[in-house]
């Protein structure tokens, strides 16, 4: 009994089904988030803010926070997020009274945004790796000074926002084999949800393979002849962000295959430089695509005559 044998799946499902009830019950409790500034002097209205912060107000009108939907959801304009501003208005030179959100802790900053942004992509922000590592919405987004076309990011694009921390992925993207990220055809958020998921590496699907199938549906099968490690994880052989080798392989063939297949006869045979040095004696098990020159169906096959996943 090495593996977990608890009826936890059933418990988990029961808990899942109970969540709406818990949520409804919890409605009675006071809302957790409160405006950062708790001045008792009250709200002054956005018109007053705009008299000094003209450029900010102008910038805001082009964003969702400057439009009617926001107005219908918020009662106090700028002070919906910043909190009552009368203390600051009455004493504008006192920096301590400025209702600056960036002075708050990451959790407090996020709580301001999550007064509205709790669903959709942000559904699982609480408990996500970015939350527990101390990031806040402000780490990536800017309400007043954003550079991106979408999502009001501090960086020029989603990819640039992610790469501001994940520098190793930037290097991967420049490798010989890569997904078309730097060409702008797909983005980090096609596979990952940076706001939180319950899967490892914030991937959007329930497993790595199910994520890969969203674009590579032909690999989904299921197949008559399966390749067990392929069914378990595409990442056993591939690295998604970039590789020096063909097809995003972690290691070039034939050595990749030989990390598992050291069988009798040709799988365990050494293919070295001498097997390529003389073109007239070269081995078709190392040049071109090596093992895949014959075993083309490594992801699975439906042909009754191909239990070895090749023709």
């Amino acid at each position: 009994m090495r593996s977990l044998r608890l009826p936890i799946p059933l418990l988990g499902l029961a808990a899942l089904l109970a969540l709406p009830g818990l949520a409804a019950a919890a409605q009675a409790s006071p809302p957790p988030a409160s405006p950062p500034s708790q001045s008792v002097l009250g709200f002054v209205g956005s018109d007053v803010c705009a008299t000094c912060h003209t450029d900010v107000a102008e910038h805001l009108t082009a964003t969702p926070h400057g439009k009617g939907k926001f107005a219908s959801l918020s009662a106090h304009g700028c002070e919906t997020c910043h909190g009552p501003g009368s203390a600051h208005v009455n004493n504008p030179d006192d920096p301590a009274l400025r209702p600056r959100i960036d002075r708050l802790s990451p959790r407090e900053q996020t709580a301001v945004c999550q007064k509205c942004h709790t669903g959709g992509q942000q559904f699982f922000w609480h408990g996500s790796v970015h939350e527990t590592r101390g990031l806040s919405c402000e780490s990536c987004h800017s309400i007043h000074a954003f550079k991106s076309e979408k999502a009001q990011l501090k960086a020029a694009s989603t990819v640039e926002a992610c790469l501001s921390c994940h520098k190793d992925v930037r290097a991967d993207m420049w490798k010989n084999s890569h997904h078309p990220i730097r060409e702008g055809k797909i983005s980090c958020t096609d596979c990952h949800n940076p706001h939180g998921t319950q899967t490892r590496s914030l991937i959007k699907a329930a497993s790595v393979n199910e994520q890969c199938y969203t674009c590579h549906a032909e690999k989904r099968g299921p197949f008559l002849w399966e390749h067990a490690p392929v069914r378990e994880s595409c990442l056993n052989c591939h690295t998604p962000h970039g590789s020096n080798h063909q097809k995003l392989q972690k290691t070039a063939t034939p050595y990749l295959c030989q990390q598992c297949h050291s069988n009798t006869r040709h799988p365990g045979t050494l293919y070295d430089a001498t097997t390529l040095a003389d073109q007239s004696r070269a081995s078709n098990r190392i040049f071109n695509r090596a093992c895949l020159d014959c075993h083309a169906a490594v992801h699975g096959s439906n042909n009754p005559s191909t239990p070895y996943l090749g023709h």
Binding site: S3, P32, T61, Q198, Q258, I286
Partner: protein, 786 residues
């Protein structure tokens, strides 16, 4: 395949650009003569720019007011010194007039918005996105994305496509080759060598038809979101992708006759989703259903054997053509990726109660595939063989034990998080993950199979429904030491239970510590270290044979080999990154990321896989008019693996061992500069350089087999140097003109690609060009805003 015909041949783009430029000038001139009006407009704008909450904004007139920002019209000229497909791997670099970007926005009454975004209009890498709706109330998004993927240009093949999935070689060519080989076999079988076959093929290869390998993905997506910012929202989605083209496929007729083919690709992938979400201040529930269907419109490939015009069989035909046999099929039969379908149900919930939060999600995915099975072979010479005392015909599907694949896999994912905070500084989260892959595919027993379409092998095989369950349970403790300083500890146990594999059960204990701080405004640190120790149950080297043979053969793999994905492992992962902000204008990033794995209990197979990456980035931005960055990265990868060469049975002689030590270093550099270097003038420059240097050190002790081992110094060594630049001149507030250019130099030295040609021993290859190139692009464009 791709043609150049899609580029704009007519100069209407240029004419439109000139007209727009004239109009922009006229508009700018008009504005300079009306300063008072302009001032009034500014005042009006200021009033209107107050946030929406202040007071009712003046409603736009009925209908839409449109704004274009920007429309870019240009012309490009490219030059590349080779026809390498890498130059246009994921992009269209053809010459001509271009509309790289068009962005149209519209605002209507009732907060309606329209946003149209077009990139690379009418080119093979175009993308069009249309948004319409009232944000938060109803939002319709349509997206059409064309993604080219070129694999290789100027390949050559003897085959001609005569129908979907049918590749033929003219009968006279097959007959001539078969005849010549048969004559040689009759006189001296040993004379059927590579040199002999190469001489036969050369005249035909010299006139072989050229082929480019590549795909075009045309993706369409329609999304309708209803009530996104309300308590109850709905989302509807439809997507369709058409994939057409071809890619290289290994269709072998035997150990000495691998035939690389252009696999025809004609795929349709269709998806649809309906989802609902209910959110309150303290909880939420999300649920939905997703349908996905993949259809391969060419699921069978039949291709001619260049060396046989008639089918033949003999016990050694899988080695033909050679001294042992010249038999084999005249046609090959491959079952390409089968059509399939998946139905996914998902449910998510979250809640907060007091200082606690709970998240849970479940997903149930049903994957099915039931394509008709093909016959064992089309090699008519194998008909009527004596199999188990009866006459057997493997060329008809009537003799299959099943007529369709009938495969089903159901996956169940259940996840739960429960967390709480103790006071202001401590938090604790429990996590549980359950993922079960239940393979419901039937165990279909086949009495044998046809090897390489050449020989009936009466070895009973049975399909194997591999399955597994993975569970993760853990806890994470976080301690906020100060406002921006956090220490975290976590423990997680990952357990696998597999069916039909060598290791049934494995457990991994994973410990992790994280430390993140920004103690002072000028310095931030993020760091983590994780240690994983995976232990395994008994390793059954015979599991594969027991599962997939009707009468299991003796294991052919080495008893002491451990397949790395299941093997005992010790893993060290770390991340450390520091960011320094010595002033408002400077920032420096230094970081390292590592993933080091050791498989100490594996005598053969993967032994070690170490990845370490070191990054640095410097940026300087003294103001809006200038910024500069410099980025550098070094990645080191070291892989050790061991094997033993065997004959018909697994060798027990340590002198037959061989070892591979792979050492890869990749250096990546990038730099960028943006400068408003003079009034109205802007300069953008960026450069990237990536260089990978890989070596395979091979070793085998003397006295065994192999006796010597010679490694490679060109383990996929790749260099890519890319420079981009553009200069813009702002004509007025509505228009600017730009000159831009790109230069790239790509080189690859790969051990498996060295010396490739259309025919090498035992392989007829397409040999397309995806190698070195040096390419450049120059262009001019006009950018308008109105």
């Amino acid at each position: 395949m791709r043609t150049k015909s899609n580029q704009f041949r007519k100069p209407f783009v240029l004419m439109a650009g000139l007209l727009l430029l004239a109009w922009a000038n006229a508009l700018a001139a008009q504005e300079t003569t009306q300063p008072q009006d302009n001032a009034q407009a500014t005042q009006t704008m200021e009033k209107e720019t107050a946030p929406a909450a202040t007071e009712a904004k003046a409603e736009p007139a009925k209908g839409f007011t449109f704004h274009v920002d920007p429309l870019v019209l240009g012309v490009i000229r490219t030059h590349v010194d080779t026809n390498s497909s890498k130059w246009e791997e994921y992009r269209d670099m053809s010459n001509g007039f271009v509309i790289p970007y068009l962005h149209l926005t519209g605002e209507g009454s009732g907060d309606r918005e329209l946003d149209f975004n077009a990139k690379n209009v009418r080119r093979e890498d175009a993308r069009y996105t249309l948004f319409y709706g009232v944000p938060g109330s109803y939002e319709l998004t349509l997206d059409y994305n064309k993604i080219p993927h070129r694999f290789g240009n100027d390949g050559h093949m003897l085959w001609t496509r005569t129908g979907p999935g049918r590749l033929e070689i003219a009968d006279p060519i097959q007959a001539a080759l078969q005849g010549a080989i048969a004559a040689q076999f009759a006189t001296n079988p040993a004379g059927i060598t590579y040199a002999f076959l190469n001489r036969l093929l050369s005249p035909y290869l010299a006139t072989a038809q050229a082929i480019n390998l590549g795909l075009e993905r045309n993706r369409f997506l329609a999304q309708l979101d209803l009530g996104r910012m309300g308590p109850l929202s709905w989302g509807l989605e439809y997507d369709h992708e058409k994939r057409t083209g071809n890619r290289a496929y290994g269709g072998s007729f035997g150990f000495s006759n691998a035939t690389e083919l252009p696999e025809p690709i004609d795929y349709d992938t269709t998806g649809a989703q309906i989802a609902g979400e209910w959110n309150t201040a303290t909880g939420g529930l999300s649920f939905g259903y997703r349908y996905s269907k993949f259809e391969n419109n060419i699921s069978t490939l039949i291709w001619d054997n260049p060396f046989r015009v008639t089918g033949a069989t003999d016990p050694s035909a899988y080695t033909a053509p050679g001294a042992g046999s010249i038999g084999g099929s005249n046609v090959g039969l491959a079952d390409l990726n089968p059509s399939n379908r998946a139905d996914l149900l998902f449910l998510k919930g979250r809640t907060r109660f007091g200082s606690w939060f709970a998240n849970a999600s479940g997903a149930y995915d049903m994957m099915k595939q039931d394509d008709p099975l093909l016959p064992y072979t089309l090699n008519s010479s194998i008909r009527g063989i004596n199999f188990n005392g009866t006459t057997f015909d493997p060329t008809t599907t009537a003799n299959l034990p099943a007529h369709s694949a009938d495969r089903k896999i159901n996956t169940t994912a259940l996840n739960a998080d429960l967390g709480t905070r103790f006071g202001q500084s401590l938090d604790l989260t429990f996590r549980y993950r359950y993922y079960d892959l239940a393979n419901k595919g039937k165990r279909i027993e086949f009495p044998g199979y046809v090897r390489f379409d050449a020989v009936w092998e009466g070895i009973g095989r049975v399909s194997v429904p591999y399955a597994y369950t993975r569970q993760n349970a853990g806890a994470e403790l976080g301690w906020d030491l100060a406002r921006a300083t956090r220490l975290g500890f976590s423990f997680e146990r990952e357990s696998w239970n597999r069916k039909f594999r060598e290791i049934k059960d494995s457990d991994e204990n994973i410990w992790k510590v994280t430390f993140d701080t920004r103690p002072v405004p000028w310095f931030a640190l993020r760091s983590s270290y994780q240690y994983g120790d995976r232990s395994i149950g008994p390793y059954n080297v015979a599991a594969g044979a027991e599962a997939s043979f009707v009468d299991p053969e003796d294991p052919t793999n080495l008893p002491a080999l451990r397949k790395f994905d299941e093997a005992a492992r010790k893993q060290h992962l770390y991340t450390i990154q520091g960011q320094f902000f010595p002033s408002d204008t400077w920032s420096l990033f230094l970081g390292a990321v590592g993933n080091n794995q050791k498989f100490d209990e594996s005598a053969f197979g993967l032994q070690k896989d170490d990845n370490n990456t070191y990054n640095a980035e410097l940026s300087y931005a003294p103001g809006d008019n200038f910024n500069f960055f410099l980025f550098g990265s070094r990645q080191d990868r070291k892989v050790d693996q061991a094997a033993r060469q065997s004959g018909a049975t697994p060798s027990t002689n340590p002198l037959d061992n061989w070892f591979a030590n792979i050492d890869e270093t990749t250096d990546t550099w990038g730099a960028g500069l943006t400068s408003n270097f003079a009034k109205r003038w802007t300069l953008d420059l960026s450069a990237n350089y990536s260089k990978s240097d890989g070596k395979v050190g091979l070793f085998s002790p003397p006295g065994g087999s192999p006796d010597v081992a010679v490694g490679f110094s060109n383990y996929d060594n790749v260099k890519l140097f890319s420079i981009l630049g553009r200069v813009d001149y702002k004509i007025n507030q509505y228009a600017k003109a730009g000159v831009f250019g790109r230069w790239e130099d790509y080189k690859i030295d790969s051990f498996i690609l060295q010396g490739l040609s259309n025919y090498l021993p035992g392989a007829l290859l397409l040999d397309p060009n995806y190698g070195d190139y040096r390419g450049s692009l120059v262009g001019v464009d006009l950018t308008f805003t109105f």
